[in-house]
Amino acid sequence: MSIIYILAPIALFLGLFGVAAFLWAVNKGQFDDLETPANRMLIEDEPINKKNNKGKEL
């Protein structure tokens, strides 16, 4: 089972990578606002080189 000496560090590395990414995100203020991102992603981009281009409904 010596493979565990390789797999465990990799898994821990991935875990630490995740922790680092999480801390980075918190420090960058990624999670300061947990309300508006969900709404803002719904706003469709309006092309500036076209008129009357609304999101197409099926």
Binding site: S2, I6, L7, I10, L34, R40, M41, L42, P47, L58
Partner: protein
């Protein structure tokens, strides 16, 4: 920084999205999806009746099944991931794809891998490790394509004009990072020739690495990218924000921390140390929480919009997909519980489970996402809502037929295997009885598959007609404030420079990956700890080694396991429970995951050479009712002796105790052993000269299986027992 500052300070920038490459990935996914389903339906019929193997070596179940799984996962779903991620990422980041050339290069490389890889599987080039069957040149190409994908994700994020990284993107990043690591670690192998290699891991070690990879291929290829896509496309299609953005953040972080540990649930009751099995089981059960948290979050996004689900095929597919995700992630942890797993493992229950995931979750998601994207990027409307609805119902009914027949077949066969009478004897001592019993279910499954395939063809036609009526229009241009001008960060200068040098950035990322994989590789290659120094196991003889490669080439592991679990029924049916030690020379391990035929770990010495010969030429001559394909080309194809010395040298470099003499005399040694088997066969009445054919090599290997363990029991080195792995 608030959005207000952006509007005060930010300069407006104009940009457009690269939807051309998205279109390519969509079309590729549809093309390969059809191929994957066609292969799936074919192998389903092959299990209903062996005649559907057509007597052709390239189309036997053992070779087509890996083609089906690889095509479904990497070709159909893979291309759909690239399409969905590139579409949504650009819009969420308000930035054009980092590098279109790279995305196109990745596209063609990926299609080349699929076409070449598919062909190589039909020709019998295989690693013999599930979902990782492609040989080493393809492994390298996959790593390159995958790094290009990741560089494009990260590069687009550097260029983003939206500060907040929406939750979907987190799922995309974790997909890239984890799949890269898993693929590289599981693919460390030493080439023998252009299309043959051996993994550096052996036996139990190989099994653990393989299922650590295999389970996470499900987790990070079929789940996390699609959860990201769910968090983008479900709110977009319903035009409602996700039920709880907070929950989605918790969902993401908890899911990725739990998933990576769940792999050993594929190895319960194996010779993997018990603590590792328990860890795998506990984490799998814990996955219930984040999985259902995400599922509920997706479904509740549709609160107040359920009327749309009735009308809009996009939402119909997406809502059903999320429902199937909930079902599959309920079933998965359940099957990871050891006692349940003992019944479910090696049966069709597992097959039903993976299809509720891949068809119910992935295919339904892909259909919904494609119906959402295609009218938008081709600037048109969907050709026929009716046809999409028809597709939805054929797919759903087909899938339900599939799942229910496989549940029934799996539980029936599992119960028959373990049934003991009052005297402690097997109620169904003949394995074939348990196969014949479930063949009606195989027919139901095959017709369910046909319905799914027909539904897919409706989608192909619908999309073809939709694209046909597309209006040509100039590429839309959008504008948004630049992110960096809003608030210059301390080290923004370096970022900006990197952005200006895409090639440098790419090379740096590649280097990082290569260094990472080297760090993994070196200790493995230099360590001889993997081999038991003193063992009762004798290394494979040259002929047995060649025979083992024939076994792998024909995909025997697809239907036959090599693992006797510690329970009375398995002990009675097969023999001594498997030991960790007996796999020390197995590169790759061949424990298998499904017993369509009986376990072979103890088959050595059970039958004479002639039985095996007859069984390969006409399985039904020795086992009436058998569904095994005919393997008559084994007595006409010569076994490969040219690479034999090289194979043994590679094995010796990995620590297998082959002496230089043995390696030098390998070919003569193999010939002598082959002659012995051939002579015995000709005495039994085989008139053909088959001493240099694959048949004798395979028989030599089969007779070796379990032989050393049986000898060790005779010599008193190993205690023959039913329970407890060691």
């Amino acid at each position: 920084m608030s959005t207000e500052q952006v509007s005060h300070q930010g300069e407006m920038e104009q940009f457009s999205y690269d939807d051309k490459v998205v279109k390519k990935y969509i079309l590729a996914s549809l093309f390969w999806g059809f191929a994957a389903l066609l292969a799936g339906v074919t192998i389903a019929f092959q299990l209903s009746s062996w005649k559907f193997n057509f007597g052709l070596e390239w189309l036997t179940f053992g070779r087509l099944r890996p083609l089906h799984t690889n095509a479904a996962i990497f070709a159909f779903v893979g291309n759909a991931i690239f399409a969905g991620v590139f579409y949504s990422l650009q819009r969420l980041a308000k930035a054009r794809l980092f590098n279109s050339f790279m995305a196109n290069f990745q596209f063609w490389l990926w299609q080349l891998i699929i076409a070449g890889g598919g062909l190589s599987l039909l020709l019998g080039y295989s690693h013999g490790k599930e979902y990782a069957e492609l040989e080493w040149p393809f492994d390298i190409a996959i790593a390159i394509a995958w790094v290009l994908f990741g560089v494009n994700i990260l590069g687009t994020l550097w260029k983003r004009r939206e500060k907040h990284i929406y939750v979907a993107i987190w799922f995309y990043i974790s997909t890239f990072v984890t799949v890269a690591v898993l693929h590289i670690v599981n693919s460390i192998e030493i080439p023998v020739s252009l299309m043959k290699s051996y993994p550096v891991y052996a036996g139990v070690q190989d099994a653990l690495v393989q299922w650590w990879y295999g389970h996470n291929a499900v987790a990070f290829f079929l789940t996390t990218p699609f959860l990201g896509l769910m968090y983008y496309f479900v709110p977009k299609a319903a035009n409602r924000p996700v039920y709880s953005y907070r929950l989605s953040i918790i969902h993401f972080w908890s899911l990725i921390f739990l998933y990576i540990w769940a792999g050993p649930h594929h190895l319960l009751y194996s010779t993997l140390p018990e603590w590792a099995q328990t860890v795998g089981m506990v984490f799998s059960v814990a996955l219930w929480a984040p999985s259902w948290g995400g599922m509920i979050n997706g479904l509740l996004t549709l609160r107040g919009a359920w009327d749309k689900v009735r009308r809009d095929p996009v939402l119909k597919f997406l809502a059903t997909a999320v429902t199937f995700y909930g079902m599959a992630t309920f079933e998965g942890p359940l099957m990871s519980i050891k006692s349940v797993n003992h019944l479910a493992h090696f049966t069709d229950w597992v097959v039903g489970h993976v299809h509720s995931g891949t068809i119910g979750w992935n295919y339904m998601m892909v259909a919904g996402i494609f119906y959402f994207m295609i009218p938008r990027i081709w600037n048109t409307t969907l050709y026929s809502v009716k046809l999409a609805n028809l597709q939805f119902w054929t797919a759903t009914i087909g899938l339900l037929m599939y799942m229910m027949s496989m549940w029934t077949a799996g539980i029936t066969q599992g119960l028959m295997w373990r049934a003991l009478d009052d005297g402690g004897r097997l109620v169904y001592p003949q394995f074939i009885e348990t196969v014949v019993k479930i063949i009606p279910m195989y027919w139901v499954r095959a017709f369910g598959g046909v319905l799914i395939l027909i539904g897919f063809m409706f989608m192909l036609y619908n999309i073809f007609k939709t694209i046909q009526q597309a209006k040509k229009e100039e590429e839309p241009v959008y504008q948004a404030p630049a992110l960096s001008s809003a608030k210059p960060e301390a080290h923004a200068g370096t970022h900006r420079k990197l952005e200006g040098m895409p090639m440098v950035f790419t090379i740096l990322a590649l280097l990082a990956i290569l260094v990472g994989s080297l760090i993994e590789l070196v200790p493995t290659l230099t360590s001889h700890k993997y081999l038991a120094q003193k063992t009762f196991m004798k290394p494979y003889s040259p002929l047995e080694l060649v025979g083992r490669d024939v076994y792998i080439k024909e995909g025997c592991y697809v239907c036959h396991s090599q693992l006797v679990r510690p329970s009375p029924d398995e002990y009675i049916r097969y023999g001594t429970v498997s030991l960790a030690e007996e796999h020390v020379y197995d590169r790759p391990f061949q424990w298998g995951s499904r017993r369509i035929g009986p376990d072979l770990a103890r088959v050595g010495g059970k039958y004479n050479h002639m039985w095996h010969y007859k069984h390969m030429i006409d399985p039904r001559a020795v086992t009436p009712g058998s569904i095994m394909p005919v393997y008559d080309w084994l007595e006409t194809k010569k076994y490969d002796h040219k690479t034999l010395r090289k194979k043994m040298k590679v094995m010796a470099s990995l620590g297998v105790p082959y002496s230089e003499d043995e390696i030098d005399n390998a070919i003569e040694n193999a010939k002598a052993q082959a002659m012995g088997i051939a002579n015995e066969l000709s005495e039994s009445g085989v008139s053909k000269d088959i001493a240099d054919k694959e048949m004798v090599a395979l028989i030599a290997y089969l007779q070796k299986l379990g032989a050393d363990v049986k000898q060790a029991i005779k010599d008193g080195k190993v205690i023959d027992k039913a329970g407890g792995a060691e």
